[in-house]
């Protein structure tokens, strides 16, 4: 019995040491983020690391950036990042095509725990014929970090083609890791596509939501329609009276009150 406790104690110590050393190596900023990828910014003697809350999926993803001096191995704290997500696709004839996606530029002033936040709305998953890279620029030196994007079980991204102004909108649901029975935050990030490289936040829309349980045919009361907060972000509340599969129906009207999206919905199962 005595020996048993000894072994437990030894293995506990060993485990603690092991986990500490691992953290020191890969997580410079005591954080619960997971590393998506890293690359050297050529000519800047700096390694750029890309982090996220979870594995990247099609739709809205919060991203975090950090920089490590490749000589000293120490974290660099006074870095301004510029990101540009790029998708490279190989077409059937072998021709390559590139496009970006909506994103929110790295914001140095919002840096927390040594990580600079940014965000991107990946419009498609990584496939055999297409891959994603993040171009991160510091002091005019660029690092290209490859990463992979998966399709989530339930889509968090709607692409809406408006016949009213003949333009495309990308409506991304900002994931809520903890959907629960009761009142839930419901936030959308809406951008208008100018071209494959340029997307601008759409700030003049009127959004309304109506949740329903398709298996039951019922809805829920007292929902709050998402209203603009800033830069294409719309925040509201969705109420779930029970767990299971919910369909949150979304209607979007433009500034002049013309519906640009109807019969669109996000599916949420929890």
């Amino acid at each position: 019995m005595k020996n048993f406790f000894k072994y437990i104690a030894i293995s506990a110590v060993a485990f603690t040491l092991a986990s500490c050393s691992k953290d020191n190596e890969t997580l410079p900023f005591n954080s619960n983020k997971i590393k998506i990828g890293e690359a050297y910014a050529i000519g800047a003697a700096t390694k750029i690391q890309l982090w996220a809350d979870a594995g990247l999926e099609t739709g809205y993803n919060k991203l975090y950036l950090s920089a490590i001096d490749s000589v000293s191995g120490q974290a660099k704290t006074d870095v301004n990042f510029n990101i540009l997500p790029m998708m490279t696709m190989t077409m059937s004839g072998g021709m390559k095509m590139q496009h970006s996606c909506p994103f929110e530029q790295a914001n140095a002033s919002a840096k927390k725990d040594g990580l600079t936040p940014a965000a991107a709305v990946f419009s498609m998953p990584t496939t055999d014929s297409g891959f994603w890279e993040m171009e991160v620029t510091i002091n005019n030196k660029k690092a290209v970090i490859p990463f992979s994007v998966k399709e989530p079980k339930q889509s968090r991204l709607l692409m809406v083609k408006s016949t009213a102004d003949n333009s495309n909108y990308l409506v991304a649901l900002i994931p809520n890791a903890t959907y629960k029975i009761g009142v839930n935050d419901f936030e959308l990030f809406v951008t208008k596509k100018i071209n494959g490289m340029t997307y601008t936040p759409a700030d003049d829309l009127k959004l309304s939501i109506e949740p329903e349980m398709p298996d039951m045919g019922h809805g829920s009361p007292n929902n709050v329609n998402p209203a603009l907060t800033s830069n294409g972000h719309y925040k509201g509340k969705v109420n779930f009276t029970m767990s299971g599969y919910w369909k949150v129906n979304l209607q979007i009207k433009n500034a002049s009150g013309v519906a640009i999206a109807e019969d669109t919905a996000f599916n949420i199962t929890f």
Binding site: K180, I181, G182, V183, E212, M213, P214, D215, M216, G217, H218, G219, S220, P221, N222, N239, F240, T241, M242, S243, G244, Y245, T269
Partner: protein, 673 residues
């Protein structure tokens, strides 16, 4: 809870201490009608054998509790299936009335009232049923409409034969049901044990030669009472009662019950002090655990399978004393408290999709501490003045985070517990002279809101077809009650007429909210509990017990309730005029009983809950009993023909247009020793 129990115990001990120094006095008690607002029906089989009154209330040796209750003039029953009918006193039901088992507070575990506490108790467990209306009804808890206290039977000590008992078994052809009852008593000099057991099994019954589906059930009930005499005048008593029902059809509901289980246990101490003004002092600690699960797997048209289990656990204690101040005053004191935890949930299983889950009772904790006092003062030999009151502190809270989140959907803030003071006060004046008596009672009464009314979450009510949502902001429902009872009693007759009138303020009803979508597939809409200004309930009960000749006896009662809300709309679930009459003949070994039950049509219905009117009906029953000795052993053979003319009928409080059983021949054999 521990603190509460200790407090009650210490109150008890101090009362006991006071008793020792008080002078002895005796106050005579009268017979069956103690107060006229307290009616006691003795159901113990052995002691009252061949008693016409017992046979009126308990028409079969294997009668169920609800059969006995239905004979009480003030009691009607809400019927959802051939099982577990819910008592209604003068139009008041659920949390408006008090239901206790020997002072034990029990809360059913079904959100849809499919298991009222009375369904977990058998007459074989009981000594008597006490019905209190008006003021005296608050003895066991705050209520506005009256109370039923079912007194548990206790072991008999120092009996003539150490072992006595009864076995009784019957079979009903119409309902294809067997009912089996066992009662055993072992009485030694200073201790006794009483056992009772019941097994019932019923198949679907027939009405007008048509099988009525989902009217089957099975149940086992078992109870033990152990009583130990500490000294000449003090007793320790332990009760354990287990009731287990399964495969129970609820014809009027969209689903049945897989099981309904209760474990009820209590330990009590009672002393009758000598040379003291305390007549008795009693303290009891108790607990009960109820487990209930609905079952839709046998229904052919279920759109989606769902599981709906519920649990209710209650623990409590009380101390009670009766004090004779002097030859003119008699004071009953009682302090009690309980703590209940109710949890019910629902999981739905759509085909090929994710299961859906919610709490229908969001882990609701209810606690209550109260004090009751009643003083009877004899002004002179004819006039008695009674004054009673009760004060409760009632607390209700949602204990789980999930439960609170759910209710946030309705913008309810249930983070803080809901604490309410409940006040009851009653007064009565009775006049007695030469067999004639007249009693007037007035009371002001408040009641706690129920878990359904406060926190229920999409509870489907099959009666009106609406989903119901609770409302934690409800005010206390309270009532002003008046009752006038006049009667005459002599050696051969007992006539009583009671008039009652109640006005209920903040009357709680579901109000339809068209903006809310329904949860239950096919429901008519969603209602939220809200309150209307007031409602009035009034009516009368007429009781008659006449002995025509030495062996011939008539017992009957007539009841009527008329109820409106503040704008004159009829209230739902109000029984029409109903007459129950029984002619009983007893000579030596033979007893004969002819019974008729008649009810008028009820066309005063509540459109707010889609209530349908009910036609009038008349029923006739005939019963015969013959008791004989066989090898010095006593047996009784019983034959009964119920619903002789195979009348197709239902009572107004029966849900879902489901007929009652048609003609049925019942044969039974009992062995008594």
């Amino acid at each position: 809870m521990a603190i509460l129990k200790i407090t009650i115990l210490s109150i008890g001990i101090s009362l006991g201490a006071v008793a020792a120094v008080m002078a002895q006095a005796c106050c005579p008690t009268d017979s069956v009608f103690k107060h006229c607002d307290l009616q006691e029906v003795v159901v113990t089989e052995k002691l009252n054998d061949n008693n016409a009154l017992l046979k009126f209330y308990k028409s079969h040796k294997t009668s169920a509790t609800e059969d006995v209750l239905s004979r009480l003039a003030a009691v009607n029953l809400i019927r959802r299936g051939n099982y577990a009918m819910e008592p209604v006193i003068r139009g008041f039901s659920a949390n408006q009335i008090g239901l206790t088992l020997d002072g034990i507070k029990i809360f059913g575990a079904c959100t849809d009232h499919m298991d009222p506490p009375t369904s977990y108790v058998e007459p074989s467990n009981l000594k008597s049923i006490q019905l209190a209306t008006n003021g005296a009804s608050c003895k066991y808890g705050s209520n506005i409409g009256g109370s039923l206290n079912l007194q548990l039977a206790q072991a008999q000590l120092a009996t003539e034969n150490p072992l006595s008992g009864m076995f009784s078994s019957s079979y009903a052809m119409g309902t294809q049901s067997t009912n089996n009852v066992m009662e055993l008593n072992y009485g030694a000099q200073n201790f006794g044990i009483r056992l009772s057991g019941v097994y019932r099994k019923a198949n679907n019954y027939q009405a007008k030669n048509q099988e009525v589906p989902f009217t089957q059930f099975q149940k086992v009930n078992f109870s033990v009472n152990g009583k130990y005499m500490l000294k000449d005048n003090s007793f320790l008593s332990l009760d354990v009662l287990m009731d287990d029902g399964w495969d129970i059809g609820y014809a009027a509901l969209p689903m049945d019950v897989a099981f309904a289980k209760a474990k009820i246990y209590a330990l009590s101490y009672k002393v009758y002090p000598k040379n003291s003004s305390f007549e008795y002092f009693e303290a009891k600690a108790y607990g009960n655990n109820i487990n209930h699960s609905m079952d839709d797997t046998k229904r052919p048209l279920t759109p989606m399978h769902m599981d709906m289990p519920g649990t209710s656990n209650t623990y409590g204690a009380y101390a009670e004393a009766l004090l004779n101040w002097n030859h003119k005053s008699r004071l009953t004191l009682r302090a009690d408290g309980y703590s209940n935890m109710s949890h019910a949930e629902m999981t739905m299983y759509p085909n090929g999709s994710t299961p859906m889950f919610m709490l229908t009772w969001p882990d609701v904790h209810s606690a209550n501490i109260g004090m009751f006092a009643n003083n009877d003062y004899a002004i002179n030999s004819k006039l008695t003045f009674s004054l009673n009151g009760r004060l409760d502190v009632n607390r209700a809270s949602v204990t789980s985070a999930l439960g609170k989140q759910q209710l946030n959907v309705f913008n309810y803030d249930v983070d803080a517990p809901r604490v309410r003071l409940l006040k009851n006060i009653g007064t009565g004046l009775s006049y007695r002279k030469n067999g004639y008596y007249s009693v007037a009672n007035f009371s002001y009464a408040e009641r706690p809101a129920s878990t359904n009314e406060l926190y229920g979450f999409y509870l489907f009510n099959a009666y009106d077809g609406y989903d119901y949502i609770g409302n934690p902001t409800l005010k206390n429902e309270y009532a002003l009650n008046a009752e006038l009872s006049n009667g005459f009693k002599n050696a051969w007759s007992d006539v009583n007429l009671t008039l009652f009138n109640s006005r209920v303020y903040n009357y709680t009803l579901g109000k339809y909210h068209p903006e809310l979508s329904v949860m239950t597939i096919g429901a008519n809409g969603t209602k939220i509990y809200e309150q209307v200004d007031y409602a009035t309930l009034k009516g009368f009960e007429l009781g008659l017990n006449v002995t025509f000749a030495k062996h011939l006896n008539f017992i009957g009662n007539l009841r009527y309730t008329y109820a409106n809300d503040y704008s004159g709309n009829p209230l739902p679930m109000i029984s029409p005029l109903k007459l129950t009459g029984s002619l009983h003949y007893q000579q030596k070994q033979l007893s004969l009983q002819a019974e008729s039950i008649w009810a008028s049509a009820q066309n005063r219905v509540s459109t707010a809950v889609n209530e349908k009117s009910t036609p009038a009906y008349a029923l006739f029953n005939a019963r015969a009993g013959y008791n004989f000795l066989l090898k010095k052993q006593r047996f009784e053979l019983n034959v009964a023909l119920e619903n002789i003319f195979d009348t197709y009928y239902r009572e107004h409080l029966d849900w879902g247009n489901i007929p009652r059983p048609g003609r049925s021949l019942i044969t039974g054999l009992s062995y008594l020793f």
